[in-house]
């Protein structure tokens, strides 16, 4: 079974309220039971409430898989980059240090890299990944692309990311404003930014407007 090409995964970190639901739900998935694979980062606690949920973006050309000396990471025909194959992974950490999104986790005591596999046991059966199922603000959403585009009037999904000179195309989308002229996210452009400069009030306002189908798309 494979993940249907109709369905896509959308991340809008801007909607994240840091509630930790995804972190808890992630550990319930059977392919990595007991281990939460999602990263929920707090940008700069003192300055901003901003949090970022990071899942594997399932790159078309996955750096993690290509730097793996043991051929342990496979990308299935549906574009999902699977977690390391247990008999193969030699826990070298190459993938952890090379993934441009900082996704793979090293489970030192198991000598095994584990990472988000889009809850393959679920998505390959037509269900949503655990995180997208529980996320109350829909910062993490899984569904048909047309539906998301229709529902989120002011945003548009992009799946290209720039890291210095390197452009990476991914299976997972991130939401950006419709008004933007850039069809990719320049990740290294924020290299020395500490936060997006939103106050707690602004953030809450954004989120609540969001729920009402407001500015944030």
């Amino acid at each position: 079974m494979t993940v249907s090409s109709e369905m896509a995964f959308f991340v809008d970190a801007n909607r994240c309220i840091g509630c930790q639901s995804c972190v808890q739900a992630c550990a319930e998935c059977d392919t990595h039971k007991g281990h939460s694979m999602i990263h929920l980062e707090t940008i700069q606690r003192a300055d901003t409430p901003q949090t970022v949920p990071v899942v594997c973006m399932h790159c078309d050309s996955p750096t993690c898989a290509e730097v793996c000396p043991a051929d342990a990471i496979k990308r299935t025909s549906d574009g999902v980059v699977q977690s390391a194959k247990k008999p193969r992974c030699i826990a070298c950490n190459n993938c952890v240090l090379s993934c441009p999104f900082g996704v793979p986790k090293m489970e030192t005591k198991f000598e095994l890299m584990m990472k988000c596999d889009m809850c393959y046991d679920r998505t390959s059966e037509g269900k949503k990944p655990m995180c997208a199922t529980v996320c109350p603000s829909q910062a993490l959403t899984f569904g048909p692309k047309e539906e998301i585009i229709r529902q989120r009037e002011s945003s548009t999904p992009v799946n290209e990311f720039k890291f210095g000179n390197q452009l990476i195309k991914t299976k997972v989308y991130m939401m950006v404003p419709k008004t933007t002229r850039q069809n990719y996210i320049d990740v290294t452009a924020s290299m020395y930014d500490s936060s997006i400069g939103q106050s707690m009030e602004e953030h809450l306002e954004d989120v609540s407007l969001d729920f009402l189908g407001g500015t944030n798309g």
């Binding site: 290509e66 240090l97 095994l112 890291f163 990740v187 924020s190 930014d193």
Partner: protein, 348 residues
């Protein structure tokens, strides 16, 4: 033909010829080579050829080549050699001997793997020398109650047949079969019950190897049953069936799951690389925390370049590889947020 293919073919041929010579010499010009086992020998020679070929091809991949080179380089570094040796012995005992990390992943998985692995090691240690004529038993002059073990044509120790040692030596393969069958049963149990196994396993990669191991062991056991209690009933059929399963397994060694047996020792090279790397850690250019060894970060930049990636900053100020994984995750959020909220607060 590409250089790596040529090199792999050359080394594969070399190893195959070497094994052939060893069989010739070890069996004393084939004097102790059992012609009935010739099928096993040819399958083994094929397996050696294909394993070496695949191994050398694998070593040509940039990340593998790097660890291969660095692993040996660091192992024999004079100031590290003895501590490396001590460290390696410890790792070999816990990792190969005990499969420690697999037990930690899952107890049932650990037990299954441990049983299968030791069963296979025991069986291989007994059968390969017998098949290649490197080992045979001799009745010492006038003593019908003993056997002498001859290795590579050199007589070694003698043992009494009707003793515990004697029984163990002659029933080593029975012990191996019991270990393998128990392990295979546990592995099947897990594969039938675990949802993650169910979704990711494939017949050729995961089920077939278990079926082969089971078939070899059970036919081997039946052979013993046949000649011990059934006066050789069905022996001819069983021995042909057993031979087919073994030959098929030998031929499949270089492909699919069994190849991990040859890949895994790379784990030791990596362990040494990590151990020595710790002496000098790199700090993230963004948050200044330690996140990996300097040697590793620099090596990875080379590997990525060879693979065609270019993570250099556009303004030439550095390399994205020098940013720690956590900062990479933050940057993703920051840059997406920036598109929504305009200019950002500059740090410092």
């Amino acid at each position: 033909m590409e250089t790596e293919v040529k090199k792999s073919l050359f080394l594969a041929t070399l190893f195959t010829i070497f094994l052939s010579i060893m069989i010739w010499v070890g069996s004393r010009n084939l004097a102790h080579f059992d012609a009935a086992l010739v099928g096993y020998t040819f399958a083994s020679l094929f397996a050696v050829f294909a394993i070496v070929y695949r191994y050398v091809m694998w070593l040509h991949r940039p990340p593998t080549a790097l660890y291969w080179r660095r692993g040996w380089e660091l192992m024999f570094k004079r100031e590290h050699f003895f501590s490396n040796l001590k460290f390696l012995v410890g790792r070999i005992v816990t990792i190969i001997g005990g499969n420690s990390f697999i037990w930690k992943r899952d107890k049932e998985r650990g037990l299954a793997h441990w049983l299968i692995m030791w069963g296979c090691i025991l069986a291989a240690a007994i059968t390969f020398p017998l098949v290649f004529g490197w080992l045979y038993f001799l009745v010492p002059d006038g003593d019908l109650t003993s056997y002498k073990i001859v290795i590579f044509g050199f007589p070694t120790l003698a043992f009494k047949i009707e003793t515990t040692l004697g029984h163990l030596i002659f029933h080593g393969l029975v012990v191996a079969s019991v270990l393998v069958i128990s392990g295979v049963m546990l592995a099947f149990r897990r594969r039938m019950r675990d949802r993650d196994a169910a979704v990711l396993q494939t017949f050729s990669e995961d089920i077939m190897p278990l079926l082969l191991l089971f078939a070899i062991s059970i036919t081997g056991l039946f052979l013993t049953v046949s000649y011990t209690w059934l006066k050789g009933y069905g022996y001819a059929f069983l021995s042909i069936f057993h031979a087919i399963t073994v030959i098929f397994t030998l031929i499949s060694l270089p492909f699919g799951k069994f190849f991990h047996i040859f890949m895994r020792p790379a784990q030791f090279g990596v362990a040494i690389y990590k151990k020595i790397g710790k002496e000098k850690m790199a700090r993230c250019i963004r948050c200044n925390t330690e996140y990996g060894s300097e040697m590793h970060i620099n090596d990875l930049m080379q590997v990525q370049k060879k693979l065609g990636y270019n993570y250099e900053m556009t303004d030439g100020t550095g390399h994205y590889q020098k940013v720690c994984p956590r900062c990479r995750r933050l940057l993703l959020g920051l840059s997406q947020g920036k598109m929504w909220h305009g200019p950002s607060i500059e740090k410092g």
